[in-house]
Symmetry: C2
Subunit: 330 residues, 2 copies
């Protein structure tokens, strides 16, 4: 019997989860078919390059060529090209890309120019890299995240996040093109045929929300036969990566694991999740999430120790399945 895991993913946190799942899967002797549905709200065109930061972080980690320290970019990359740009035209040197990363972006750009869709270009490049997971953009249509604020004109996500270091303070994140976008081929199918659906420990506001904004994806998760398990991107009240706290503030959500779980909501009351994995440091915080909560250290060590996270994920699936079989609500 085929076993399928589908997970929703942003960049760094999702990529580390993907790598942990990949390692666990390889060691299991009975690997799942794994599909990543990846945020493309961060995508933009810069210096002619069609850049998809989250797709790349996931692919690089799965091919074991990602920079583990930063969580983005290639390991052992050089910066000859960007150093030259910063020297000659410093005003255009704000988006860091290593030389190997530029190679990847040039190849994707050419494939898109050749008429391939983003999912086709991703599949072709990932097959060359030996990526065993199916990595799908949430949509092949351009659906950029727009950062709205009162200080000036709205910004593209990367302009706000990277160039302006998450300033000024936003009033909202908008996905104005989402309603005109279709899920990429395979996205809805992978959710419908999944045995397990996971929401990776990614930024819920700017990584997961842009995926859920594509028409049909939220409904496909709600209607899926598979249990849906989320991993907390907050540990001990602090964002593990990036400016998650600033993003959560924009949507009026506290930067705590229970607050993020409550925002996703439990399926019994129309939410997304059946179960939630949080770090033991947050074990004593009050929870309003009505689903199954499992505590396991969630800080990725990026070695075999991360197996415990996937083990906990599988245990929560087992608990949910047994509860379901016995007719008990968990």
């Amino acid at each position: 019997m085929t076993r399928n895991i589908t997970f929703l993913s942003g960049g760094v946190g999702g990529a580390r989860f993907a790598r942990a799942l990949h390692s666990w899967n390889e060691a299991s002797g009975r690997p799942f078919n794994c599909t990543a549905i990846v945020n493309v709200g961060d995508d933009f065109t810069h210096m002619g390059l069609r850049i998809s930061p989250d797709l790349d972080s996931v692919a690089y980690h799965l091919a074991d060529m990602g920079d583990k320290g930063r969580g983005w970019g290639r390991a052992n990359d050089s910066t000859r090209t960007m150093s030259e740009i910063s020297r000659v035209l410093p005003e255009e040197g704000w988006f860091q890309l290593g030389d190997l990363d530029i190679a990847h972006n040039l190849m994707r750009t050419q494939l898109l120019e050749n008429g391939h869709s983003l999912s086709e270009a991703t599949r072709l490049l990932n097959s060359r890299y030996g990526v065993s997971f199916t990595v799908l953009p949430a949509t092949d249509d351009p659906s950029p995240t727009i950062v709205e604020h009162t200080a000036s004109a709205p910004m593209w996500f990367q302009e706000w996040w990277v160039r302006n270091q998450a300033n000024p303070s936003p009033t909202a994140f908008a996905f104005p093109h989402a309603t005109d976008s279709k899920p990429a081929p395979g996205v809805l199918e992978s959710l419908a045929t999944a045995d397990i659906i996971v929401i990776a420990p990614s930024n819920p506001v700017v990584s997961i929300d842009p995926i859920l904004a594509i028409p049909g994806i939220r409904a496909a998760i709600a209607e899926a036969a598979a249990p849906v398990i989320g991993l907390s991107p907050v540990i001990g009240g602090r964002p593990v990566r990036g400016w998650l706290d600033r993003c959560l503030a924009v949507v009026g959500v506290e930067c705590t694991a229970p607050a993020v779980a409550a925002r996703y909501g439990d399926r019994s009351t129309g939410g997304l999740l059946d179960a939630w994995l949080a770090d033991p440091i947050d074990e004593n915080l009050p929870n309003t999430f009505a689903g199954l909560i499992t505590h396991v250290p969630l800080l990725f060590s990026q070695d075999e120790a991360d197996n415990r996270i996937i083990d906990a994920l599988m245990e929560s699936v087992t608990t949910l399945t047994n509860a379901s079989k016995s007719g008990l609500s968990v």
Copy 2:
């Protein structure tokens, strides 16, 4: 009194001429204002990069950062990015670009994306590189050279020249967008105010013809007050660079210095040139060109020895000027 030299230029040969003129000029103590009008028929978009090979060869040589051996690209460049592309997606690795060259192309692409014209982007980048000449694209409008042949669909110039190594044999070179193009700002003015106009030893068919095809440029040269001197790109019946012989064959011209001079034609009979510089090796070939012919070794050594070429150019200008003053036809 300001003294102005304006020259028409392709890539490698024009870039070497430009460098020789720059060195001679610097050493003269009384430098000319120099303006290059550069072919953009080779320009194309590849992997998202807006590539202008001839503009870059000229700028790199003038900034003394060109690769003197190849005549194109940057000196001491590395190829980390293109090596990765050739490894992962070899079908897209055919156009060689060093890492520093990619930096230059990314900067130009971003400047064009920002709304700058090609001449503005060129001026900005060249000023950062410390280029003292004014380097103008023949036109800011896209006017690609199309290679027509019987074997398949017409090709972009670089596809034919680089990817297919000048195969298959063309039936014609066409400049279909030239008639809709305007000379870039400064081009006609620089010809009108020039004290000397030079046609660099570039490929007459695929480097100079695309410049002359832009409406107004040929007439501006014909009407210019300045003497017009051409340098032979053929030495001893062989092209100094590239597939000049194949290009000349397409327009039915022998690959000899006199045949190229005759094709440009002398101004007294409606042609372009008042004078022609050819190599001494070609001194005894029969000539139909009616203007002044001066023989000087024309193979660029890319050191002080190249001063003799610029000296010969200046001597031919003096001869033309004296003949003009004395009312004699040369």
